[in-house]
């Protein structure tokens, strides 16, 4: 888990964070350590904030194609407090429950934030996944149609949260892939 320094966090706070999140002690301490390294020196960690750019350039998120969406979903007023970072790490930890992960995955994938994953969102997701310049229109339309035919149960060309939840409950890879290890850096 790396060398984690245990100063500046009271025992009661550590207990509280352990009770409120899905993270283990070591993970919380490592995230605390990383947070202190990035925030301006001298500031108390509970009042310091990180910008979205700082969190985006964390090693765990640096190459993630959805890092800007992750930062938008988990930040408040475009900044990250320590508890926002903990919350983000908790959702992505191995011990988090499926329903929590599915809820946040839905918010991350909803690019235009209209409460549904529609064709526009699907197009953005596919383009981010493929990360190439020459994606043909046919390929996109084909993929979008396949996804909607599999999971759009009421035929309104978009996925509501319950349809998304239903689709992810059937997916065997979702739990394995929706994990990030924030500690150890």
């Amino acid at each position: 888990m790396g060398q984690c320094l245990r100063y500046q966090m009271h025992w009661e706070d550590l207990e509280e964070y352990q009770a409120l999140t899905f993270l283990t002690r070591n993970e919380i301490l490592c995230i605390h350590d990383t947070f202190l390294k990035l925030c301006p020196p001298g500031k108390y960690y509970k009042e310091a904030t990180l910008t979205m750019d700082q969190v985006s350039s964390l090693p765990a998120l640096r190459v993630n194609p959805f890092r800007d969406r992750i930062c938008r979903v988990f930040s408040h007023d475009d900044v990250f407090s320590f508890e926002d970072v903990l919350g983000m790490a908790s959702v992505f930890s191995e011990q988090a429950c499926p329903s929590l992960k599915i809820e946040y995955a839905f918010r991350i994938y909803d690019f235009n934030e209209n409460g549904f994953i529609d064709e526009e969102d699907l197009q953005s997701i596919i383009l981010r996944l493929l990360n190439s310049d020459d994606v043909s229109e046919d390929l996109l339309i084909d993929l979008i149609n396949h996804v909607l035919s599999e999971s759009d149960l009421d035929n309104d060309n978009m996925l509501s949260f319950s349809e998304f939840e239903h689709a992810m409950a059937k997916s065997p890879d979702f739990m394995n892939c929706f994990r990030i290890h924030f500690w150890g850096f």
């Binding site: 996944l129 890879d173 929706f178």
Partner: protein, 637 residues
């Protein structure tokens, strides 16, 4: 504000500290996990499918360790305790009564002058000085071990250890593969890879490496394009005219006959090689030259390895003409190669079996087996399995040393040559590697009955292979864009292993039940066949227990039992079918609700929207519950 009573406070505190204790214990046990750091770093650099290969290898190491532990506890421990005088026990040797003296002769071959290289030959082939050690069955010519107040029945323990390790392997593999199977059963789609899974769960959020991320992007590009291509081909197949269909099917029939002919040719080659090797082994082997010696001893292994090298290339060429969809092509080729690899071992063992039970082209009446050539036939079979295992390890090491590393050197230093550019750097081919280790495991399962120390050798061999493959992967391989999905690959590996286990059980049961055990060596000298220990032991039970056992194993019980099991199975299958229908009906109802709301018009919009979304939510909830129900039924099944 409400204050918690003392009791509630204590309950909360104790449940929190219990949870923390469990967490700490869990953290400690994960530290004990074998090779955790290595496998994590492989996952980070090369992806989850290659990581699943190494997890599978780790599983086999653990399985072999447990198998060896079973054999050690049941068979080896009493013998070691007695031999090294740790406990005050003695061996019980009951001389065989009504067997011919000729059957009990076991000439131990010893020649006058022993060259140094004969030690090496003995080490590589299990003959000579290794033949009498505890490595092979022949060493255990003990009928019991007498402790203070009871006699430990060694033949029964030997038989039980065999049945125990086969049953344990079966249960463990089935338990591990249940996850993948459940998911396959519940889905309404017939193939594993659904688009939802690939798009929403396509990106592995664990990736932190830039090059790994690029690799993932390119593999996603490849995979999605391949899936759509497969979809198009499937549509094309559906639109075939009847003449085309007839042409394709007759071509497929012809090609399958060719595949069968290739398999038959390989099996015949192995049969002849085994017979040749066995016949010449009995001749003056000490007088032969070193290389010729080894060649004859290892001839079956060499032929098997050559066959396993050539046939995948032939199969890959043939399947090209059979015009299947790409996914199905890959699966069928792999299945054919699997069958080829595992059946060759069976052919070898059955050839040996036929040689053992034939005396000068007639059945052996004297002892039931050819006692002149094979006074202790279980040891000979054990030696063949030992040779196969050692040769397999040598080949894997040799291929890594003499093919992988030079290839990498050539690619790095002579990359300007056209040939090298064409050939390119090696990709870690998962199916071939998996077949290799399943082949090794099948040999271990067959050999463990004839040579109790083979599981230990297999454990060491797999540990060596882990490190060799890891080094080969890190230093010589580049990641391949064509990747198996992790969820899919686990199920595939365990399915192949299960096929190996089923093919391994066949020779073991034949030698236990129908070939008479050798009278000159081994724990079963006083029994007709190995299996006879069980009826003899049952006859020493009290008569009520005996009649119970006789009742259970009689046909009057077995047939109704089998029929009841079939009925229960059909019930569950029918229930699953009914649930699937309910799921389909609910889906139709959902789209109907949507259409109805469209028809009703816009001025009722707020009210309609309310009921529509409530209906939809209710129906989707029902759908999710029905799916969960189906999963629970499958759990019970």
């Amino acid at each position: 504000m409400k204050y918690l009573s003392e009791w509630d406070q204590w309950k909360q505190y104790s449940s929190k500290s219990w949870k923390r204790f469990l967490e700490k214990a869990h953290e400690m046990t994960t530290h004990l996990e074998l090779w955790r750091e290595d496998i994590r770093s492989i996952e980070g650099k090369f992806g989850t499918s290659i990581q699943s290969y190494f997890s599978f290898l780790r599983f086999l190491v653990l399985l072999n360790m447990v198998i060896f532990l079973i054999i050690f506890m049941l068979v080896l421990l009493p013998i070691f305790l007695t031999k090294y005088k740790i406990t005050n026990s003695s061996f019980v040797l009951i001389p065989s009564k009504d067997t011919d003296i000729q059957c009990t002769m076991y000439p131990i071959s010893s020649s006058g002058l022993i060259y140094f290289y004969s030690y090496i030959i003995d080490l590589l082939s299990g003959t000579g000085f290794l033949e009498e050690t505890s490595l092979f069955y022949g060493h255990y010519t003990i009928d019991g071990v007498k402790f203070h107040n009871f006699i430990y029945d060694l033949p029964l323990a030997y038989l039980i250890s065999t049945i125990a390790y086969l049953a344990l392997s079966l249960l463990w593999i089935v338990k591990r593969s249940v996850e993948g199977f459940k998911i396959n059963l519940i889905r309404s789609e017939e193939h594993f890879q659904s688009y939802c899974n690939k798009i929403f769960a396509g990106w592995d959020f664990c990736i932190t490496n830039r090059s790994m991320a690029d690799l993932k992007h390119s593999s996603l590009r490849y995979e999605l394009r391949a899936d759509l291509e497969e979809e198009r081909i499937r549509q094309k197949i559906a639109e075939r005219t009847s003449e085309e269909t007839i042409r394709i099917y007759s071509l497929r029939l012809l090609l399958n006959c060719i595949v069968l002919a290739v398999l038959a040719a390989c099996f015949y080659a192995i049969y002849r090689a085994t017979i040749f090797s066995q016949e010449h082994m009995k001749k003056e082997i000490d007088k032969m030259v070193f290389g010729e010696n080894l060649l004859i001893l290892y001839l079956p292994s060499i032929v098997i390895t050559l066959a396993n090298f050539i046939t995948p290339m032939i199969f890959a060429k043939i399947i090209h003409y059979e015009d299947y969809s790409p996914g199905f092509e890959i699966r069928l080729t792999i299945l054919r190669c699997v069958f080829m690899r595992l059946a060759t071992i069976c052919v070898l063992v059955l050839t040996l079996g036929s040689k053992i039970t034939s005396c000068d082209n007639s059945t052996c009446e004297l002892c039931g087996y050819n006692q002149k050539l094979y006074p202790c036939w279980e040891t000979q079979v054990g030696q063949e399995m030992y040779k196969l295992m050692i040769f397999d390890l040598i080949i894997i090491l040799a291929v890594t040393l003499f093919v992988d590393f030079p290839r990498k050197l050539l690619v790095t230093h002579c990359s300007s040559w056209k040939v090298i550019q064409c050939w390119g750097q090696q990709e870690f081919a998962i199916p071939d590697n998996v077949l290799g280790i399943v082949y090794g495991q099948t040999i271990c399962w067959i050999g463990a009955f004839f040579s109790p120390l083979i599981p230990l050798i297999a454990t060491i061999k797999f540990i060596i292979i882990f490190y060799v493959k890891e080094m080969s992967l890190i230093y010589t391989c580049r990641p391949s864009p064509r990747q198996f999905r992790a969820s899919n690959s686990n199920f595939f590996f365990l399915l192949v292993l299960l096929i190996g286990l089923c093919l391994a059980i066949i020779p073991v049961t034949i030698s236990m039940a129908s070939i008479p055990s050798s009278k000159a060596c081994g724990p079963f000298t006083n029994f007709n066949t190995t299996w006879e220990v069980v009826p003899k032991t049952v006859s020493t039970f009290p008569s009520s227990l005996q009649s119970l056992i006789h009742g259970i194993t009689s046909e009057a019980f077995a047939v109704p039992f089998f029929m009841i099991i079939c009925l229960i199975m059909f019930y569950f299958i029918a229930l699953a079918g009914a649930h699937k229908k309910v799921v389909g009906q609910l889906r139709e109802q959902l789209s109907l609700v949507r259409e109805q709301s469209q028809v009703l018009g816009s001025w009722q919009w707020p009210f309609v929207q309310d009921t529509e979304s409530r209906d939809k939510r209710y129906l989707i909830q029902k759908l999710t519950e029905a799916q969960k129900d189906m999963r629970n039924r499958v759990d019970v099944l």
